[in-house]
Structure formats: C-alpha cells, structure tokens
C-alpha cells in the first residue's frame, strides 16, 4: 500500500534539461499522507523506546518495565539487537532512482540510499565520455528484463541506469527516447569564440 510498481516522473523545465525519476512512491492522496504520518510517529516512538531500554541498561531505571526488560537481556545480545532495530527503523520505505540529462554537460545517475541516514549516491558522466546509450536485455531469474545502459569510454563496465528498480520496458524506452532527444537532437556545433582565445 505504501509503495507502487515503479513509475516514471519527468521534470523538464527546458527542452535540453530533463530529469527522469523512477520511483515506487505512489501519488499523494490524503489517506496516504495520514498513513505516512502514522508511520513516522510509530518509527519515532519505537526508536525512543529502544533508546530508553539502552538508557535503562546503563543507568538508573527509567521505567520499571523497561528496566526489567533491559536487565533480563545480556549485553552482547542487547547491543546488536538495538543496532538492528535502529537500522530497521531508519530504512526507507520507497526507492527512488533518477537520471538527470544536461545537454553539453552529461548525464548523472543517482540512487536513493537504503536508509534515511545516508545521502544519495550519484555518478556523473561527462558527454565527452559517453560512448553510447542503449537498451539491453538480460535474464533475471526466469524473466527477461530490459534495462538502460550508458557505455562509458575507457571503462570496462557499463553503467546501468535504474539498477535497483529495473523498470518495465515501456518506461525504459520512454527514458531512452527522452535522453537521446535531450542530448543530441537538433544539436548544432558551437562556434568557439575566437576573439577570446
């Protein structure tokens, strides 16, 4: 309910700049917003409880129940469990991966990280280095997936766009067309300003 199948969102303020975002975030409705708020409250309260248990373990009991729980669990168990709980509470619900295309500069892929604590991992590829952008197919389990790759000059590995979500073929094709249009269509060569250099 909190996530949908990967869907495409395009932001294109000018014809030569576009951002293609594939996200599992469903369109915002009132019910969803409420659910979202509820989840946030739950997360915060759970992390507070975990913190309190840890606190009760170290110092004077903060609450009778918590203190009993904290005392009953041995420390080598308590600490990893607390760490795991914190990690689980900081996990993101939805995934988001995007491709930013800037004519004259290059393309940039980015993935949302697994937790709220880390920043997005981005990779910028200058236009000079882009050898090709193509749609490829591969087996994944028992199905064939189509995926967008950027072939980078002088590198052994290709860069897969939307590596985690691997959206459907229709989305991939739309993005591919958009990227080609944005990067190359109607491109005239710039005249270098000779007076300056």
């Amino acid at each position: 309910m909190l996530t949908t199948a990967p869907r495409l969102r395009i932001r294109r303020p000018s014809p030569t700049t576009a951002e293609f975002t594939v996200t599992t975030l469903p369109p915002r409705t009132l019910a969803l917003r409420l659910l979202w708020l509820l989840l946030l409250a739950l997360r915060i309260s759970l992390s507070l409880v975990a913190l309190l248990i840890l606190y009760a373990r170290w110092t004077t009991p903060a609450g009778a129940l918590l203190a009993r729980i904290a005392a009953s669990v041995s420390l080598p168990v308590l600490l990893p469990v607390a760490a795991a709980v914190f990690y689980a509470l900081s996990l993101r619900v939805h995934k988001e991966e995007s491709l930013l295309v800037l004519r004259g500069l290059g393309v940039q892929t980015s993935e949302s990280p697994a937790t709220y604590l880390a920043g997005a991992a981005t990779r910028f590829i200058p236009t000079e280095k882009i050898q090709d952008i193509l749609v490829n197919e591969a087996f994944l389990g028992f199905e064939v997936r189509y995926y967008l790759v950027v072939v980078v000059e002088g590198e052994e590995n290709v860069v897969v766009v939307f590596p985690g979500l691997l959206p459907r073929r229709k989305i991939v094709e739309t993005v591919w067309r958009g990227v080609r249009e944005c990067l190359y269509e109607g491109r005239g060569e710039d005249r270098v300003d000779k007076s300056g250099s």
Binding site: P15, L100, G104, L105, D132, D190
Partner: protein, 782 residues
C-alpha cells in the same frame, strides 16, 4: 564624425581645389567627354548585371547561412555564482566566454560602462597590482583575457550585443533571471565558489591521497610473482573483458563528435576554482576604471594615521632587525642540522638496505623493527622535500590546486608521527614503570603456551589421541625427540629470563620514538622466542612431505607404473618380482605410519599458523599507526570541500512570481532550468581504499586453494612478499628517495623565498590600516 575633423577636411578640400584649379577643369572636361561617348551607359549596364548577380547568388547564400546558424540548438549555458551580491543597481557581468552561448560568470561590476570594462580587461588593468603574474590564470582558464558577458538590471535594451546576457537580479528573488537575444533555452548552473585560501576546490576525479608515482608497481610485482596458473587465469579474464569492450565499441552506430561545449568541462572546473580569487581582484580594482575623488583627511584621522604610522615604524624596525640579523643565522643552523641528520639517515638506510647479493633478503625484509626504522628514516628524508614543494605554493596564486594532496599527505604523516610519539610516550612510561610485572607476564605466557602447552600436546599425541590407534613406537620416538628439544629450549629460556626485564626496559625506552617501535619489537621478539616452534614445523613438514612423496612413487610401483621424468608423465614399467615385493611391503609400512606423522605435523602447523596470524595482527597495528588517514578524516569532518570526490548536479524547481512586473516585457525569458553544481566530498570508502586493497591481497595470498594444498601436502607455505604487504606503508613515500645533494639544493633554493619577504612584510600592517576606509564612490567592497 567629429565636427572639428569635418571642418578640417572642408578646409583642406577647398584649399586643394584653389591650388590645383587646372586639375579640376581637366576633370570636368573628362566628364563631358565620357557623357558624349556613352561611357555612362556602359557603367550603368555593368551595375545592373552585378546587381542581378548579387540578388541571384549572394543573397540566397547569406539567407541560407543565417538559417543554418539559427538552426543550432540555441541553448545557452550560464554558470552563476551563488554568493554574487544581489542589488537593484545596473552593472556589467564579467567572466569567461567559453563559446558564444557558453558563459561563465565571475562577478558583476556595478555602475561602470561595459565598453570601458572590456577595454580594461583586455589591457589587464585589473591585475596590475596583483602579487602574482596573471598569465597563470589565463593559462589554466583557457583564455587570453576575461570578457564582458553582458549587463545586469539594464534600463534599456539599446546598445546591447545580441550575444550578451541580460541578467535581472534583485534582492528579493533567489535566482537571477537571465535572457539573451540569441538563446532559445537556458541552463542556469549555480555554483558555490570554493575558497582557495581555505584550500577548497572541486575536481572531476577524486583526490588521490596516496602518492601516485608507483601506483601500478605493486600489481606488477604481484602478478609476476604469483603462481603462473593464477596469473594466467587473471590474464585470460582481462583479455576477455578487453575483447568485450572492443565489441561494444563496434555496436555504437553514430560516433558523435564532442562539441566545444562538451569539451569545456575541465576548463570550467578550473574557472570555478579560480572564481573566488578573480572576484576579489576585480572588485578591489574596480576603482581604477574611473577617476577617484580624493578627500582630505580630517584632523582626527590624521592623528590616528600618524599614531599607526609610528606603531608600524617600530614594528617594521623590529622585524627588519629580526629578519636581517637573527633569522638567517637560525635558518642556516637549522639547515646544517637537517643536512647532518640526513647524512646519518643515509648511512643507516644503506645498512638497512644492504643485500649480500641481489635477490637476497636485506635486514629490513627480515625484521619488523628494521622495517619500522627504515620507514621513519625515509619519512624524515622526504619531509624537507615536501616542505619545499609546499613553500613554493605560496609563490603562486592560491587557486592552483595541484599541491593540495601534497599538503594533506605532508601534514597527515607529520600528525601520525606526532600521534605515534604521544601514544608511545604513554605506552613507554607504563612499560618502564611496570617492567617487572610485564616481564613476569611475558615469561608466564611463554612458559604456558610455548612450552607447557606444547609438551602437553605432544604427550597427548603419544598416548593414542582421541581414540586414534597410532603407531606407538613411532609416536614415542617422535614425541621424545620433540620433548627433548623443548626441554633444552626451556632451559635456555630460563637462563635468559633474568635478562627479560632489561629487554622490556629497552623496548619501553624505545617507545619514546613512537608506539610503533615497541610493537615492531614485540613482533620480532615473538618470532625469536618461538623459533623452536618454527623449527619443529619445518622438521615435521619435511618428514611428512618426504613420506607423502615416497608413498606416491611406491603407489605407482604397486600399480606397475612409474613416473617418467623426461616426459613428465606416468609410464607403465616392468618391475621384477623382488622389486615389486619389497616396494609393496614398504608401501604398506609407510602407509600405516602416515597417520602418526600427519598428526604431529598438523599439531605444529596449527601452532605456526597461530603465530603467523599474531604477527599479522601486529602488522595491521603497525600499518594503522603508520598510515591511518587521520588528517584526511579530520578534514572530511571539518571541511568536506577540501576533499573533493567529484561533482554532482541537482535540478532545482523554478518558481517565478506570478505577478509579472512592468519590466518583464524587457526580458522575454526563454525556458530556463536551474541547476545547482555541488561538490561531492570524498567517500570514506575511498579514504580506506589502500586498506581494502591490502586486505584483498592478503586474502588472495593466504586463503587461496594453492596455500591449502601446500598445507595438506606438507610443502612450505611461502610467506607473503613483504613488498606487497608493505606497499600500503610505502604508498606515502616516493619510490626513489632524494639524494643528499638534491636535498641540499632544494633547501638552499628555499632560502631565496624568505629573502624577498622582508620587503613585503612591512607593508602589510599599513595596508590593513588604509583599507579600513572606504575609497571611491562609496562602492562597497566584498
């Protein structure tokens, strides 16, 4: 034309006509003659033909050319600094024009004339008082001068070049609004100026923390030394990948030529790095453009000025006294001490690196202590050179970013050594104070684990361990042999034990040279005090291996075959009956004795492995103390933009005020996308890259199936090459250290720089004093 020059020309023509009147009459006659003979008609015909030709060919060509030029995408790219001052005044936008529609804005000069600015930019007025030569700027930014890019908040659209940018920045809006007559769409890329004084910069590639002059060397060593099979396998994989990459290249249908805008990216990175200093220079010198009114000082100001002049005078005198008489002596003495130190270091280094024959082990390959001393000495040798290169940084603009990794390396190694010494002092004083206790502990440990545990283990093996029916006689023989040697060894240790507190005291004392020293010494001590285990391991492995080889050849005999050495294969062979009989009997005998020998071998092999892993632990500690990227980590926390790891872009939402004001008709804005250029700080993973590499190398060496096979068959497990293991520690040092002579020269050239200083230094307080008062037309300086 100027009225005066028109008048002059008129007077000249009138004078000429009067002076040469006969020429004028001749011309008049010529004209009448031409009219009479139809010259005019012919001329008119010629003109008509030429006009037709022009209309038919030249005009369509010109039209086509114009259409072609307007056909290019009309994308304008504007780099705009985020911290540019926002005001409603008119100004001139100054920066670099990388190509017609690709501009890089450095600053806006307010209340000046654009053509005037252009002239002064070309003649270099702005950099006349700069401390360093501006040619370096032009070289790195790729242009011979800065350009006027446009105007901001212009009142009228007249006299604006079509390729000029019209910016409209006001104090209320967050982003400037850009338009240009030639552009059909705009990318507005906002960037934060890195502060070169704070050593911030951006770069396309992550900053390299390790010294790069021998990056490929350890790999080569590894590949040449590893067993041929693994190397072959790796080579095959690499070859396969290369083929795939080649194939992929053939898949691209269109080979697109990069446009000037695509190629400008490295230049733009440099321009971003320079933008702060250029802005400072431009804003400081904007007063040179026009006349500056001079105002007499008031009485109070004069009093203040004379007082500060007096203070400055005293300071200057003191400073010259110091710099002329005292400083050179101190410096010379310091240089001499350094040089003496360098020579002593050279002697030690030669001793440590001495090899009896090329290929033999040097002292530093055998002992961890020697290795540690060598690393420290190399660092001491490298520091003066590093310092000299860092000093040269001061003689140039701060925006030249090539020396920043050097700076980080230098201070990282200094800090690590300082840390090492501090920790070493704590450890050393503890060890010296408790030397008896420490010695007792070590003695106990030695007795329990290297003597008693071994003895117990051997006696257990002698008495049918874990229900295994071993050969009692052989087990007793082997066990007695080992026990006897252990007894002898323990008596040796006992005689040595009164010496132990002194040795511990020595180790504790050595730790004042750094905590890494006692660790290295303990590592060496461990290898010396467990020498008997090493020899047991060697002996039992040899016996076990012999037995295995004999068993193998006897097995071939048992099958009626033999190993042909010349062909390296198994051939069948006709043995005599007695040969077969004896061989088979021997085979059975040895086969039944094998478990006994194997059990003893396994016992010592395990002990040996434990010692190796202990030493690996010590080595890891050492590499942490010698190489930990402490300074880089601190910088990453304090100021992430000093450790650039690449760039990334962020597409911002464009929000414009819904109510268009009157001036909006002036700026018919093309569609604009606002992009924010940001610096990615170096990821933590990259900082510890060397550690990951080392771990990978160790894992590849010790956890490979080849090593397991060696262990099982009782062959000697080759220890990992120290050069591979220590490439991490040497990654901060150059492959070849500078000789004494090179250092002497470097240190002496270094003296030249401070000699210039005394003449500049006195000016600084005066400048500060004068700079407090605003000069010019109340222009605020930023």
């Amino acid at each position: 034309m100027h009225p005066f020059s028109t008048l002059t020309l008129g007077i000249f023509v009138a004078g000429y006509i009067t002076a040469r009147w006969d020429l004028v009459t001749r011309l008049y006659e010529l004209a009448i003659f031409a009219v009479e003979y139809g010259v005019v008609l012919r001329v008119a015909r010629g003109i008509v033909v030429l006009t037709a030709f022009f209309l038919a060919i030249f005009v369509p060509v010109a039209l086509l050319a114009r259409r072609e030029t307007t056909l290019h995408d009309g994308l304008m790219r504007v780099f705009w600094p985020t911290d540019i001052r926002k005001s409603d005044r008119t100004g001139v936008v100054v920066g670099w024009r990388n190509s017609t529609l690709d501009v890089f804005v450095v600053t806006i000069l307010e209340d000046v004339d654009a053509h005037n600015v252009e002239f002064h930019l070309r003649s270099g007025t702005f950099f006349r008082s700069s401390p360093h030569s501006p040619s370096r700027i032009y070289e790195l930014c790729g242009h011979s001068s800065m350009h006027v890019l446009g105007v901001s908040n212009a009142a009228t659209q007249d006299a604006i070049d079509p390729s000029w940018v019209c910016a409209k920045a006001s104090t209320s809006s967050r982003y400037p609004r850009i338009s240009c007559a030639k552009a059909s769409s705009i990318q507005l890329i906002l960037y934060d100026r890195p502060r070169p004084k704070g050593m911030q910069y951006i770069s396309l590639n992550p900053i390299a923390l390790a010294l790069g002059d021998k990056g490929t060397l350890p790999e080569d060593v590894a590949s040449s030394e590893d067993d041929s099979e693994e190397a072959k396998h790796e080579k095959a994989i690499k070859e396969n990948r290369r083929m795939l990459v080649e194939k992929l290249k053939q898949h691209s249908i269109v080979r697109r030529v990069a446009s000037a805008r695509d190629k400008a990216l490295p230049k733009i990175v440099n321009q971003v790095n320079w933008s702060w200093e250029l802005e400072q220079a431009l804003q400081q010198n904007v007063g040179r453009l026009g006349p500056r009114p001079k105002r007499g000082l008031s009485v109070s100001e004069r009093v203040v000025e004379s007082a500060t002049t007096m203070r400055n005078y005293v300071l200057v005198q003191l400073w010259t006294l110091f710099s002329v008489y005292l400083f050179p002596i101190v410096q010379k003495a310091f240089v001499l001490v350094l040089l003496f130190h360098r020579m002593v270091a050279e002697i030690f280094l030669i001793i440590l690196e001495f090899r009896a024959k090329p290929g033999y082990a040097a002292l530093k390959d055998i002992s961890a202590t020697a290795q540690q001393i060598e690393i420290r000495l190399q660092q001491f040798c490298y520091w003066p050179m590093q310092y000299v290169t860092l000093r040269q940084r001061k003689a140039n603009w701060a925006s030249v970013t090539t020396s920043h990794p050097d700076y980080i390396r230098f201070y990282n190694s200094l800090w690590l050594v300082a840390n090492d010494v501090i920790i070493g002092m704590a450890v050393g004083s503890y060890i010296i104070e408790h030397k008896d206790w420490v010695a007792d502990q070590i003695r106990d440990l030695l007795r329990t684990y290297t003597v008693e545990a071994l003895q117990r283990g051997i006696s257990w093996l002698m008495g049918w361990p874990a229900g295994l029916k071993l050969n009692g006689e052989l087990a007793a023989f082997l066990g007695d042999l080992f026990l006897w040697v252990i007894d002898y060894w323990s008596s040796c240790i006992e005689t040595l034990s009164p010496m132990l507190p002194h040795i511990i005291w020595f180790i504790g004392f050595s730790s004042f040279a750094g905590a890494s020293m006692p660790i290295a010494m303990f590592s060496d001590l461990l290898s010396v005090l467990t020498l008997h285990i090493y020899s047991f391991y060697l002996a039992s492995a040899r016996i076990y291996h012999w037995q295995l080889t004999i068993l193998r050849s006897l097995f071939h005999l048992f099958r009626g075959k033999k190993h042909n050495v010349l062909r390296n294969r198994i051939d069948s062979c006709d043995y005599d009956l007695d040969q077969l009989l004896v061989g088979t009997i021997l085979f059975t005998l040895l086969f039944f004795l094998l478990p006994t020998v194997m059990v003893f071998y396994l016992n010592f092999a395990i002990a040996r492995m434990i010692i190796i892993s202990l030493k690996a632990g010590f080595d890891t500690l050492l590499s942490c103390l010698n190489h930990f990227p402490l300074f880089a980590l601190m910088l990453r926390l304090k100021d992430p933009s000093r450790l650039p790891g690449g760039i990334h872009f962020e597409l911002r939402d464009t929000h414009y005020p819904t109510t268009p004001d009157a001036n909006d008709n002036l700026l018919n804005e093309p569609p604009t996308s606002i992009i924010y250029l940001k610096n990615i700080p170096l990821p933590f993973r990259d900082m510890f890259h060397q550690y990951f590499q080392m771990a990978h190398r160790i894992r590849k060496h010790y956890l490979s199936p080849r090593v397991l096979l060696c262990l099982v068959t009782g062959q000697f497990v080759p220890p990992i090459n120290r050069k591979n293991l220590y490439s991490l520690q040497y990654s901060m040092l150059p492959a070849r250290r500078a000789t004494v002579w090179e250092m002497w020269r470097a240190v002496n050239t270094e003296i030249d720089i401070p000699q210039k200083k005394p003449f500049q230094m006195p000016n600084i307080p005066q400048l500060q004093n004068g700079g407090k008062r605003p000069t010019g037309f109340g222009r605020t300086r930023s």
